[in-house]
């Protein structure tokens, strides 16, 4: 396993609110894992915890993150820093706000090439131009002198990807990389991510609230609800026979462009509970069509069903 997240828990420093609660994730070398769930369920914090970039208000409350067999908690800060932005790279939803506005595109890429690959001078410059061309930025030589604000959102996301590639990472964490983009640009960026992974063989953790993006890119998917993983499965199984009622309900909410799909999106009753005031037992039970008395009392463990599919539910949707 390239990445093994076990029983990861995160809570807020002040209120003690649990943000992540016993998260388990595995990612093999070269694999693409999709992480999906509704706003606020903890997708970004999972990424930040893995990349060791948790915001100041949050602390680890248990569990471990092992990267390539090494417990990241056992590493000292310089070693962790070498991993972060080196073997582990991250791209974000809003690339423009993660780019330093006073740095030219070229400076930004050359800096990364120097730090992580020891390139400088003409070598760094040539490699930076090559990276820009690789991510589909035309007229790369001239664009080296541009500033991020002169780029569109889609171009800045390409730049972030070029920056990530500069370090030749083993793992790319992509947190909603296309959410802020038009559907046309989104398709271009998803294509680019797919091409890059085929070329480099790097593993990808892709986060999205859009099941379509997950279906497009992921080999396996994990569904998150209120800080817990409620289902994980190979992506075909997830869409063919979702086991957790929440997964099934999420798929039922998704509109499509298929004119033969006449059912209007089916809402999930009620609303997502607040993390500060979670219902006991299975956090989904007040909204669940399949709940049983036990569901409100105990936490259902993530249990293996078949063929790499696991679900945390006392009464999973029959999958035969």
């Amino acid at each position: 396993m390239l990445l093994q997240v076990s029983d990861l828990a995160i809570r807020s420093r002040s209120g003690g609110v649990r943000i992540l609660d016993g998260v388990d994730l595995q990612l093999g070398a070269g694999e693409v894992l999709g992480l999906v769930g509704e706003s606020g369920c903890g997708k970004s914090m999972t990424c930040y915890a893995i990349a060791d970039l948790l915001p100041a208000g949050l602390v680890r409350a248990g569990g471990s993150v092992r990267f390539d067999g090494v417990d990241m908690g056992s590493l000292d800060e310089p070693a962790r820093r070498r991993l972060r932005g080196g073997r582990i790279a991250m791209i974000f939803q809003d690339p423009t706000s993660h780019l330093n506005p006073v740095h030219r595109v070229g400076t930004y890429l050359e800096g990364a090439l120097k730090r992580h690959r020891g390139l400088s001078g003409t070598d760094a410059r040539m490699e930076a131009i090559r990276l820009l061309e690789r991510v589909g930025i035309s007229d790369a030589k001239r664009r080296m002198n541009a500033y991020p604000h002169e780029f569109s959102g889609g171009m800045n996301q390409r730049l972030m990807i070029a920056h990530a590639l500069a370090c030749e990472p083993d793992l790319l964490i992509a947190d909603e990389p296309t959410t802020a983009l038009d559907v046309t640009t989104q398709a271009q960026i998803l294509d680019l991510i797919e091409t890059v992974r085929a070329e480099t063989g790097m593993a990808i953790l892709i986060v999205s609230h859009d099941l379509g993006v997950i279906a497009r890119l992921a080999d396996r998917a994990a569904v998150m609800h209120c800080g817990r993983i409620v289902e994980t499965a190979p992506v075909e199984a997830l869409f063919d026979r979702p086991a957790h009622p929440y997964t099934s309900a999420l798929i039922g909410c998704m509109p499509t462009v298929d004119p033969d799909d006449c059912d209007p999106p089916r809402p999930i009753r009620g609303s997502v509970p607040s993390l500060a005031d979670l219902p006991g037992g299975c956090h989904f039970h007040p909204r669940c069509d399949r709940r049983m008395p036990a569901c409100g009392l105990a936490r259902p463990p993530l249990a293996a069903l078949a063929d790499g599919q696991s679900s945390a539910c006392f009464n999973p949707v029959p999958t035969w």
Binding site: V183, T185, D191, E194, R216, E236, P255, T256, P259, I268
Partner: protein
């Protein structure tokens, strides 16, 4: 169906913004909306889609008289906006509403939900005091929010609840015409599904006529009957949604639809996409504004602007309309 007088009609509608020149940039003219003709029948539900910056919000604001057109005419119930007296405008304001793009910006953080929903009633002299409060409360219940919401403030509500409040406020006057501008775009899918159900229920109840602006091609199918696809300020294809989704004839519509991710992991193919991004300058001069990104473009596309030509109840602005493009062929192969 006998086509009655449309509730809303636009002819040759245009809006230009002049951008002051910067240090290096010359002063330039942006045609945010250009040459738009549209008709909304009573009870009609028209979706407006297109990429960011194509002019959807500007069109919505023009139609509601919230921005002044640079060209063209708008008629609401056969009366031209340009010929309205102040009293006519007042009546139009009572009978129309805008659901703004950003619900947080649309609500006043200092005012209770109840007061904000009741506000249009008092402003337009429809009701005041206890009567207005009662109507507001009923409006909230209609959108699935309990009376306990009346005393709350916006920050005490979830995103979905805020969006419902904005909709309740838009509908409290029982308007005839509504422009929903990205009313569900920021919501989680589970909440989006609720709000879509709500909009449909209210449309039935009030017989609303509306424009539903969205960049999401998936959701508009469930709230509208017809669609107008915009590219750099112009309508490039329009017609019944299902017919267009089944067989888009404009290369841009084809590309937009092909770019929407499917829910089927087996359908993952190299997504056929259009090159590059929309550049406003492509809309200047003669020729088709889409030609710079179009896989079908021929010499004529650069020299002659394609007109929006009607065929039955559909219309397309493309010299090669209906020819099967590569993206479209791949899609058809996928479906079969």
């Amino acid at each position: 169906m006998v086509s009655a007088v449309p509730i809303l009609e636009a002819r040759g509608l245009g809006r230009i913004f002049t951008r002051r020149g910067g240090l290096f940039a010359p002063r330039s003219v942006l045609r945010a909306v250009e040459g738009i003709d549209l008709e909304l029948p009573v009870g009609g539900r028209l979706a407006i889609v297109g990429e960011s910056g194509c002019g959807k919000s500007t069109l919505g604001r023009l139609l509601l008289g919230l921005a002044a057109p640079s060209a063209g005419t708008i008629l609401f119930e056969s009366m031209e906006h340009g010929h309205r007296s102040p009293a006519d405008w007042k009546r139009f304001r009572r009978e129309s509403a805008l659901v703004q793009q950003n619900p947080l910006a649309a609500l006043d953080p200092q005012m209770t939900i109840g007061a904000q929903v009741a506000e249009p009633l008092t402003v337009h002299g429809r009701a005041r005091g206890a009567a207005a409060r009662e109507m507001a409360e009923r409006g909230l219940v209609e959108v699935g929010l309990g009376p306990e919401m009346m005393a709350r403030f916006p920050h005490q509500l979830s995103g979905g609840q805020r969006q419902r409040v904005v909709i309740a406020r838009a509908l409290v006057m029982s308007p005839k015409l509504v422009v929903f501008d990205e009313a569900v775009s920021a919501l989680d899918v589970s909440v989006q599904a609720q709000v879509v159900g709500l909009i449909n229920a209210q449309q039935h109840r009030l017989g609303l006529s509306y424009l539903f602006i969205s960049h999401d091609l998936r959701i508009v199918r469930h709230v509208a009957d017809r669609i107008a696809v915009m590219y750099l300020g112009r309508i490039v294809e329009t017609g019944p949604i299902d017919a267009i989704y089944r067989a888009p004839t404009h290369p841009y519509t084809q590309a937009l639809l092909a770019a929407v991710p499917r829910l089927d992991p087996r359908a993952r193919r190299p997504a056929v996409t259009i090159r590059g991004e929309a550049t406003a300058s492509a809309a200047d001069g003669p020729g088709c504004a889409f030609r710079t990104r179009c896989a079908m473009a021929i010499a004529r596309c650069a020299s002659e602007r394609p007109e929006l030509l009607a065929l039955g109840d559909r219309a397309t602005a493309c010299h090669r309309a209906g020819e099967v493009s590569e993206p479209q062929r791949e899609r058809m192969e996928l479906v079969s």
